[in-house]
Symmetry: C2
Subunit: 450 residues, 2 copies
Amino acid sequence: MEFKISKDLIQQLEQLIQSKNDQQLEVLLNDLHHADIAEILDELDFDEATYIFKVLDSEKTAEILLELEDDLRENILQRLSAKEIAEELDELDTDDAADIIAELPQSKMEEVISELEDVEHAKDIVDLLRYDEDTAGGLMGKELVKVNENWNVLTCVKEMRQQAEHVTRVHSIYVVDDEDRLKGRLSLKDLLTTSTKTPISDVYIKKVDYVKVDTPDVEVARIMQKYDLEAIPVVDEMGRLVGRITIDDIVDVIKEEADKDYQLAAGISQDVEADDSILELTRARLPWLVLALLGGFVSVKVLGLFEPAMEGHKALFFFTPLIAAMGGNVGVQSSAIIVQGLANNAITGSIIQRLLKELSLSLLNGLILSAILFAGSYFLLGYEIHIGITVTIALLSVIIIASLNGTFIPIILNKYGIDPALATGPFITTSNDILGILIYFSIARLILGF
Amino acid sequence: MEFKISKDLIQQLEQLIQSKNDQQLEVLLNDLHHADIAEILDELDFDEATYIFKVLDSEKTAEILLELEDDLRENILQRLSAKEIAEELDELDTDDAADIIAELPQSKMEEVISELEDVEHAKDIVDLLRYDEDTAGGLMGKELVKVNENWNVLTCVKEMRQQAEHVTRVHSIYVVDDEDRLKGRLSLKDLLTTSTKTPISDVYIKKVDYVKVDTPDVEVARIMQKYDLEAIPVVDEMGRLVGRITIDDIVDVIKEEADKDYQLAAGISQDVEADDSILELTRARLPWLVLALLGGFVSVKVLGLFEPAMEGHKALFFFTPLIAAMGGNVGVQSSAIIVQGLANNAITGSIIQRLLKELSLSLLNGLILSAILFAGSYFLLGYEIHIGITVTIALLSVIIIASLNGTFIPIILNKYGIDPALATGPFITTSNDILGILIYFSIARLILGF
């Protein structure tokens, strides 16, 4: 059941392309799933990929187009005429077609739309283009099965058969009134198990979950996950049924959202992949590194202030990276837990409760770690007891401060509508570094007096 | 469309519980979705939650049970008799029932099983218990609609109606032979649009994606995502159809997998949430912190080796945290990109290509950052040019080494079947800290000679 691209297959394909053996190519590729062909095209060089793309018919290539890496899709679309692109789009669901069309430059977009054969399809696609891609409107497709509440089951089944022709997967049958306003739903199962004579108004379920066109995509994902929905209808400002979102589109949103939090925590500010170009990767990574570097300047400056400590307490400087790193690590842990909690809507209780909890947690962790540090500095590293006491108290303080920082900075950002994940990663590490060094040497000055 | 728990609602419920007004409670709660009630119970104290749980009927509580936080579910299950638990399980799909039963202590588990009313249901649940929870067998449910390839459509529809009674959502109709071996599938849409006289063997689709009972859950998730499947059949070693996995179970796997990578990167070794107990949080966080602390000891030791540099080159020690932090940041970035790439099966190309790319990338980033550092140390911080040259060369070297480390340690771990995400977070930060300090002072010794 597992498809693996073999080197043999790639070689075979390359030979067939060189000898322009289109017939053999078709035979070989027609057995494969479009997602697998997309994977193969990503492996081939660009000319070969385009060649294969032109050999296959548009029913297959349309689906392949959806699965390709962004760069390759963009390149292939550039080589296709408006008419050829329109042929691809005619094969696709409206939401997928709208996504692809939105990637085109404005002039080509209009040309492609004018070439679409199915006018209804074209209307639907144009409709979808006006929604923001991060909203329910941007996610939804127009393909759905709807019936009027005033129909009887017979009319309904007849109408549905016709509608179902255009719908790849029938999840739910939506019930609307004469104004197209969403009234409820009819499950396929009910349809299978109910006699055909029953009137619609008797069988349909009046309770139906829905979202509005402007509901943010992450909110749609949260609702569908919470209520275990495989599809959800989308209504406009008047409550009219305008589309539906299916779970497979939501899987992408969930994955992207989780990946994005991780990337931000790692100091990567755009959605990049290992296979993106060096320039794209640099754009995503460099800004955070520059920020960290500037923070580093501050730490250099702060350390410079404590230069007098070098007379007599050199060892203090050997412990600086340890204290700074521990502050960074604790801060990252705390912020990761809060950011994931906020993303999952799992942060409950009052601020005071959270403060007390984080305090106890960091105190517990801090005491254990400080004890290890004290023992280590004395027995393992052989430093005098004054140094040991200083670094131990400093570590405990830094851990408490860093963990409070890591917890409350994301919560505060979130309160003001800023993505809390921004506060993780290099930002929290760098600020905790600086704070840690400052606390450390201030405590040292108090204890050792320099 | 959005449900929000209000303080009013909670107060109202608490009053009704105190006055034991069960009837009003039922009226109030019956309008709510089980996922919303679960959210409410998580907010109430434990006695109140149990009280409500006992007031509602098992059809509703069974679903609520699934949505509760683990701790609360465990607590409530402890207070229920084996018979009461069995009543809940009778209402649930086999996969959900098996998940709950697996959480019970062995003796209670057997008692509960013996109390299950529906013997077929009980058999299915017991069957599911023997699969590892991280495999397709552990994810699958027994509820599915299957037809024999030798039937005609009429028998088929009759049989299906009966089977569909037990299945919440019909995704696909699977076709099997006389030995129950999976042969293909029949789409509901085909059924809607095909005349009832057609023989099954004429209409069913022979190509069907499936997984085996021992396929790992992340692999199932990958396949379902790649091929955009909403359900996938599961076969045993003989190719017999034994269950099906639906996309909603996979959504959890995908989310958990992405969250887990992020948590590991943040130095959290177990799946914990902000609302878990202090002890659970400590267990998840402390081991990584201890590891980082031990790494810190090494950095103290290494810095101690370069003590002679303090005579005349004090400034070197002011730059230590900056160099170490930059190494850590770059390493975390590189490893995050690789870990996500490995998780998404998006790492292609040879090791040599990747090496060259990472080298160019880190060289580009490193040169820009070093230039900033050089200018900053000279103009901003006012250090002499020798120090500037030293820290600049050190930073460039550290960035290159850290980025290679961050890239190749995960790849190597992955090759040996170890979770590459383990190499991110505190591990990569700490080792890059130590390495960074070592490289920095070695270069300083070469240039400044101490």
